[in-house]
Structure formats: structure tokens, C-alpha cells
Symmetry: C2
Subunit: 160 residues, 2 copies
DNA sequence: TATTGTTATACTCTATAACTATA
DNA sequence: TATAGTTATAGAGTATAACAATA
């Protein structure tokens, strides 16, 4: 039965897959981290859209709120954004009257970023909304599990 | 001293930021998950580049390896890829002689995907490399911590 | 000589509409 | 009427090179 054996060894037998086995991918930290990050972004998008903010806009405004006078260079380094891609982002936030740029006190090349009063008011609401979204997702975890998750994630991405 | 008080209340005082305070962002699961996912992808890229594979190519080939006969539709549903974006991806893998498409046994609209012998040989090496990359990153975690991390990440992104 | 911010530009990734063949 | 696969295309995100002003 050569033909039968060849068919048995044939790598391309025409069989249907009833249920997909993703066990291997699900054993990888990278796969799970990406899936979780995409789920969080998916949960974030509608809430932030109410303020006409993308997640990256929220991150930038949050850093400016908590670090008045922060420079573009510092924002780029903290968030992993390339300088050319931050220019338009900050420009849009400035045109919306949420941030303003002031001369840096010691470095005349740089500009310090600050929130305007409307910018601070918007961020107060946005951070409350963000906290609610986090709480909704974290409700699947106990408070201790949420703390553990953040601690382990930081171990993964922080150098040493 | 109205002028002094106004300056004190002035939201845009020209002060420099010596060290960026990202404590708020670092308290968010979403921010940490995204940072960790990007770190894992960054570790993955050079290793997979040796096989001329992107992370998404590796994911697709891995699912085809462990699910011979899987359809494009099933790949899209499992990986969150939109059908139009999978066409070129699979086409490239097919032109490279790594996968081949065979008629689906029961649905003449669909095509079952299979790895060729060179495709399986490549994936044996690629999965070994992936395991090494995972181990290198997971070396910052104890085996128990790595298991806990994956379990908590799955709680975040799995519905209920 | 190096760095900050900027412009222009290219490349990749992701998303939408519409079509065909078949279920 | 709905689904699998496909084409064309648009939009968002990310990348590099080069420049002026300043350190």
C-alpha cells in the first residue's frame, strides 16, 4: 500500500480544522502581552474619544500636567515617540488651546510645555474617565492581582 | 502684591523639569502592558529577522504548523487580522515556498493552509529561537512569576 | 561637535468598500 | 441572504535624512 502510506505521510492532507489550537502562541509572554495591550487600548478608545483624545494624546497631556515645563525631548524619551512625530501632535494640542509652549528658562533651543486652564480642566475629567476604564478591566482581577500584574510587567520592560 | 500672587498662580511659570515623573502613567495597566508588549516585540525582531520573518509571519506560520488545513478566516479570527491584510501576507509566504493552499475538503469557497517541508524545517528553528528569546526575557522573572504573568494577562484580554 | 526642534518624506500597519464564487 | 477570499484604496502610525538655532 504505497499510495496509502504516501497519503499518510503527505503533509498536505485535505482535512478541516474544527477548533483552532493556539496553545503554543498562548504560552509566549509576548503574544499575551500584545493581546492584553490591544484589549486595554480597545477599552480606552471610546472613553477618550469623548474628549477627542487618542491614547497618545492622553499620555502626552498627562505628562505635561504632572511635569509642567517638560520639553519635547523629554516627552519623546519617556514615551518612545520620535521627535518628528511629536511636532504635529503638540501643534494640534496647542491649536486646541490645551497646551502652550514657553521659552525654556536655561536652554534657548528648547520649549517648556504647560497645560492651559482648559487643558487642566479637560485632563481632570479625562483622568477620572481613565481611572474608571482601568477599574472596569481590573475588576476581573483582585486588587492584589492588579498590583502583581503591574509589578511583573515592569520587570519585563525595565532594563535590569 | 497682586503681581506676585498672579505669578504664583500662573500656570505657565518658566521652570525646567530635571527628572520626568511618570508615576501616574505607570499606575495604569494599559500603559505597562503596552510598554511590555513593545519590549517583547523589540526582543523578537532581531531573532526573527534571521529567518526573514516578522512577528506576524511567525504567528501565522505557527498556527498553520499546529493546525494543518486552517483557513484564512480562522487565522484572521485568531490573530485579529483583517482579511484583506492577510492576503498579501499569505501570498508572500506561499511564493517563498513555506506554505501551500489546498482546496478545503467541504467548503469550496475556502482554502486550507499547510506548511511545506521547508516551511516546517524553518519553523522548527524559528520556534527554538523564539523559546530562547522568551527565556532571556523571562529570566528576569521566576518560573512561577512567568506563569502568573501569563495567567493575569489572559484574565485581562479574555472575555469573562 | 552635539543637541533641540523642525520639515519633508517614505514606509509599514490597519481599516473600509466593493466584487466573485460558493454556502 | 450570508460567508470566504480577494482587490483596490485610504488612513494612521512609525521611520530616516537633513536643516537652522543654540549648547
Amino acid at each position: 500500500m504505497n499510495a496509502a502510506r504516501e497519503r499518510a505521510a503527505e503533509p498536505t492532507a485535505a482535512v478541516a480544522v474544527d477548533e483552532v489550537d493556539a496553545a503554543y502562541l498562548e504560552s509566549l509572554i509576548g503574544y499575551n502581552a500584545r493581546r492584553a495591550a490591544l484589549a486595554m487600548i480597545g477599552a480606552f478608545l471610546p472613553g477618550m474619544a469623548a474628549f477627542d483624545l487618542r491614547p497618545v494624546d492622553f499620555s502626552v497631556l498627562s505628562l505635561v500636567l504632572h511635569n509642567p515645563g517638560i520639553t519635547s525631548r523629554q516627552l519623546c524619551a519617556t514615551l518612545g515617540i520620535l521627535p518628528p512625530n511629536l511636532v504635529g501632535l503638540v501643534g494640534t494640542l496647542e491649536r486646541r488651546g490645551l497646551v502652550l509652549r514657553q521659552p525654556h528658562p536655561t536652554d534657548r533651543r528648547a520649549m517648556g510645555l504647560h497645560l492651559t486652564a482648559p487643558g487642566r480642566a479637560l485632563m481632570r475629567k479625562a483622568e477620572r474617565t481613565a481611572a474608571g476604564i482601568e477599574a472596569a478591566v481590573a475588576s476581573r482581577l483582585s486588587p492584589a492581582e492588579a498590583r502583581t500584574l503591574i509589578r511583573l510587567l515592569r520587570k519585563v520592560y525595565l532594563d535590569r
